[in-house]
C-alpha cells in the first residue's frame, strides 16, 4: 500500500461526504432501506475503494483483484454508492435502488449485479464465505499469495452462530490474508447491542479465538489505513479490526439513534440531511 498523504486524506474526506449525499438521495428516492449503517460506514468504504483495495472498475472480474465480502448486506446503499463513485456504473443508476427491474436489489444479489463477490442480507454467512475464498486461494497460490481478502461484518451479526464458526476456522487455518472489519456502531434493529445481546468484552473474545485484534476510530482515515497495514503485516493469523463508528454519521438528527437503523429519511428530512452534509463539505 502507498503512503497516505494529507492531500489524499482530505480528498477522501470529500469523497466520503459525496457518498453520504448519494446515500441520502438514494434512500429518499427508494422510500425504504437502511440509513444509519451506510452513513456510518462511508469512510471505511471510501478508504477501501479509493486507497486500499486492488481492483479495477473497468474490469470488475479482474482475476488478480482483492476480494471483499459484504456480510451485512443491508448496508448496501453505501456499497452501491461507493461502487458508482468508483466508476463501476453511472451515478444516476443509484436512483433505481430497491425498484423493480433494478440491478440494485434491496439486498445485494449477484445475479443482478454480476461483479458482486456474493449475495448477502441474511446475517452471519459472510465471514465463512471469505474464509472459503481465502482457503481456495491458498490452495492455488500458497500462504504468500498476493491477494487480500476482506470481510465486512456488522456488530449485530456477531449474535449469529455461523459467524463464530467462521471465526474458529479462520484461526485454525491461520489465514493471514484475511482481514475482517467490524462496524462497531453499537446498534441493531431493535435497540443497542449491549441491551439486545451483549457482545463485550468483544476484543477479548476475538483475541481468545486466536485472531490479531485492533480497535480503531472508523471515521479516521489514518487509523483505517494504518490498521489495514498492520493487519497485512501479521503472520499466521487472521486479523480483525473493530471500527468504532457513529451510526448515521454526518447527519446530526440520525447520529447514534437505533431508530434510524432500518428506515429512510422522508423527502424533507433528506433535504435537511443534504444541507448539513453540503455545509460540512464546504
Amino acid at each position: 500500500m502507498q503512503q497516505l498523504t494529507d492531500e489524499k486524506k482530505i480528498w477522501m474526506e470529500g469523497k466520503a461526504n459525496e457518498i453520504r449525499q448519494s446515500i441520502i438521495e438514494m434512500l429518499v428516492e427508494a422510500g425504504s432501506g437502511h440509513s444509519a449503517g451506510p452513513l456510518g460506514m462511508a469512510d471505511i468504504f471510501t478508504a477501501l475503494y479509493f486507497f486500499i483495495l486492488k481492483h479495477d472498475p473497468t474490469n470488475p472480474m479482474w482475476e488478480e483483484r482483492d476480494r471483499l465480502v459484504l456480510s451485512n448486506g443491508h448496508i448496501c446503499p453505501v456499497y452501491y454508492a461507493t461502487l458508482a463513485h468508483a466508476g463501476y456504473f453511472p451515478l444516476n443508476e443509484l436512483k433505481t435502488l430497491r425498484k423493480f427491474g433494478s440491478r440494485l436489489q434491496g439486498h445485494p444479489h449477484r445475479e443482478y449485479l454480476k461483479f458482486l463477490e456474493t449475495s448477502s442480507g441474511p446475517l452471519g454467512a459472510g465471514l465463512s464465505q471469505a474464509v472459503g475464498m481465502c482457503l481456495a486461494d491458498r490452495m492455488d497460490n500458497g500462504k504468500y499469495s498476493p491477494k487480500q481478502f476482506y470481510c465486512l461484518l456488522s456488530d449485530g451479526e456477531l449474535d449469529e452462530g455461523n459467524t463464530w464458526e467462521g471465526v474458529m476456522l479462520g484461526a485454525k487455518e491461520k489465514l493471514q490474508n484475511l482481514t475482517v472489519i467490524i462496524d462497531r456502531n453499537n446498534i441493531q434493529i431493535e435497540g443497542y447491542t449491549e441491551d439486545i445481546m451483549p457482545l463485550e468484552p468483544l476484543r477479548d473474545k476475538w483475541e481468545s479465538f486466536n485472531w490479531h485484534t485492533q480497535v480503531i476510530d472508523g471515521h479516521n482515515f489514518e487509523q483505517i489505513v494504518g490498521a489495514i497495514g498492520e493487519a497485512q503485516a501479521v503472520f499466521d493469523k487472521p486479523s480483525v479490526i473493530m471500527a468504532n463508528t457513529i451510526p448515521g454519521k454526518g447527519v446530526s438528527f440520525m447520529e447514534r439513534k437505533y431508530e434510524w437503523h432500518g428506515k429512510p429519511p422522508t423527502k424533507e428530512q433528506g433535504e435537511e440531511a443534504l444541507k448539513e452534509l453540503r455545509n460540512n463539505h464546504a
Binding site: E111, S119, S120, A125, S128, G132, C134, N162
Partner: protein, 337 residues
C-alpha cells in the same frame, strides 16, 4: 424383463445379490472426480468416515477441509471456495446438511448459483438404530424447492458413483441423497447415467397396467414387487428416477399414458418428495389414479432398517398393495373409499 438395453445387474433377483452401501459409491466417485479435475475439493463436518469422504481426504489431504461440527460453516465456506473457481463437495448427514443449514444453502449457494455439491448421507429411516433425530425424511422437499438446485437420489452404489462424477462436471449446485445401509446392486458400470433422465428398469413385454416410479434404495423393492406381479400375469413397469430435479417429465407422462395408473415409491415424506413431484407433473399434464408409498406424516424411530421399512409401510408387500389399490381405482373410477 429387466431392461437389458441398460445392462443391469442380472443377479439382482438372487438371494445372494451383491450389496454395497449407496454412500460408498459417493466415496469412490469423489476420488475419481478429483483425479479428473484438480479444482475438486472436499469439506466435511466431522463425518468423514460415515460419509465415505475419507477416501478422498486420504488421497488429497491438501484439498480437504475439516470444518468440525459446524454445518452452517460447511456450506458457506464451500460457497466461498466455489467463488474462487473450486468445485466443492460438502458432506454430512442429510439431517444436518441440508437439514440444519437450509437458509445458508438457499442464499449462498442456490441464490448465488455457486456449483457447490451438497452430499447428505444417512437419509431415510433405514439409518436404523440411531433413531428419528438422525433420519432425514424431509431433505428432498427442502432441496427440490430451490431454483438452480439439482437433486440426485441414486438407487445403488454404482449409480451414486456416476452421480458424483456427473455432479462434479456440471457447473450448478447439486444435492446428492445417500443412504447408510447395504443396498443390492441394480445397475452395472455399463449402465448409462444422465442427469435429468429417468430409465425404465423393469418392463414386462405387454402394455403396462400400472407404472411404479421409484427413487433411491427402495428401487430394488419396487422391481421385486413388479417381478412378483409379472409372475401373476399383471404387467407393472418400474421407472427409476435418480434425478428428482430436473425431473424427466416425458418419461413420467409417457408411463402414465401407457399404464393409466401410477405408484410412487420413496423413503421420504410423501409430502414434498418424489410422489409430490410426480403428482405435480401428472395433474397438469395427464392425471391418472396415483398411490404414494413413503412416510405419511410421522417421524422415524429406532429399530433395524428392515423393521422400520416395514413399520412405515415401504416394504415389498406395501408396494404390492398400493399397486392393487391403484389398479382397482383405474378399473372402477367411482370413488368407493
Amino acid at each position: 424383463m429387466l431392461n437389458q438395453n441398460l445392462k443391469l445387474n442380472t443377479k439382482l433377483f438372487d438371494e445372494d445379490v451383491e450389496q454395497i452401501p449407496i454412500r460408498r459409491g459417493f466415496g469412490e466417485g469423489l476420488v475419481l472426480a478429483a483425479d479428473a479435475d484438480k479444482n475438486v475439493v472436499g469439506l466435511c463436518a466431522d463425518l468423514n468416515e460415515s460419509s465415505q469422504m475419507y477416501l478422498f481426504a486420504k488421497k488429497y489431504p491438501l484439498r480437504f477441509v475439516q470444518v468440525g461440527v459446524a454445518e452452517q460453516n460447511l456450506v458457506t465456506v464451500a460457497s466461498g471456495m466455489a467463488a474462487m473457481g473450486k468445485i466443492p463437495f460438502t458432506s454430512s448427514y442429510a439431517m444436518f446438511s441440508p437439514g440444519r443449514n437450509w437458509e445458508q444453502i438457499r442464499t449462498t449457494i442456490a441464490y448465488n448459483d455457486r456449483p457447490v455439491k451438497i452430499i447428505g448421507s444417512h437419509a431415510g429411516v433405514s439409518v436404523g438404530s440411531d433413531g428419528g433425530t438422525h433420519q432425514a425424511i424431509e431433505d428432498i422437499a427442502l432441496m427440490r424447492v430451490l431454483p438452480n438446485m439439482i437433486v440426485l437420489s441414486p438407487c445403488d452404489a454404482i449409480e451414486a458413483k456416476k452421480a458424483t462424477i456427473e455432479a462434479a462436471k456440471i457447473n450448478k449446485p447439486v444435492y446428492i441423497r445417500l443412504t447408510r445401509e447395504k443396498t443390492p446392486l441394480i445397475t452395472t458400470e455399463e449402465t448409462p447415467f444422465e442427469i435429468g433422465k429417468g430409465e425404465i428398469l423393469f418392463a414386462p413385454p405387454m402394455t403396462a397396467q400400472v407404472g411404479i416410479i421409484a427413487t433411491g434404495a427402495l428401487v430394488h423393492k419396487a422391481i421385486i414387487a413388479a417381478q412378483n406381479f409379472s409372475q401373476k400375469g399383471i404387467s407393472v413397469k418400474v421407472l427409476n428416477i435418480s434425478s428428482v430435479r430436473p425431473l424427466d417429465f416425458e418419461a413420467i407422462i409417457n408411463l402414465a399414458k401407457e399404464a393409466g395408473a401410477i405408484v410412487s415409491v420413496e423413503e421420504h415424506q410423501v409430502v414434498g418428495g418424489l410422489g409430490s413431484a410426480i403428482a405435480e407433473v401428472l395433474v397438469q399434464n395427464y392425471p391418472v389414479p396415483m398411490e404414494l408409498i413413503g412416510i405419511h406424516d410421522k417421524f422415524g424411530q429406532s429399530g433395524t432398517p428392515a423393521e422400520l421399512i416395514e413399520y412405515y409401510g415401504m416394504g415389498v408387500s406395501h408396494i404390492e398393495k398400493a399397486v392393487e389399490r391403484v389398479l382397482n381405482r383405474k378399473n372402477d373410477p367411482t370413488p368407493s373409499r
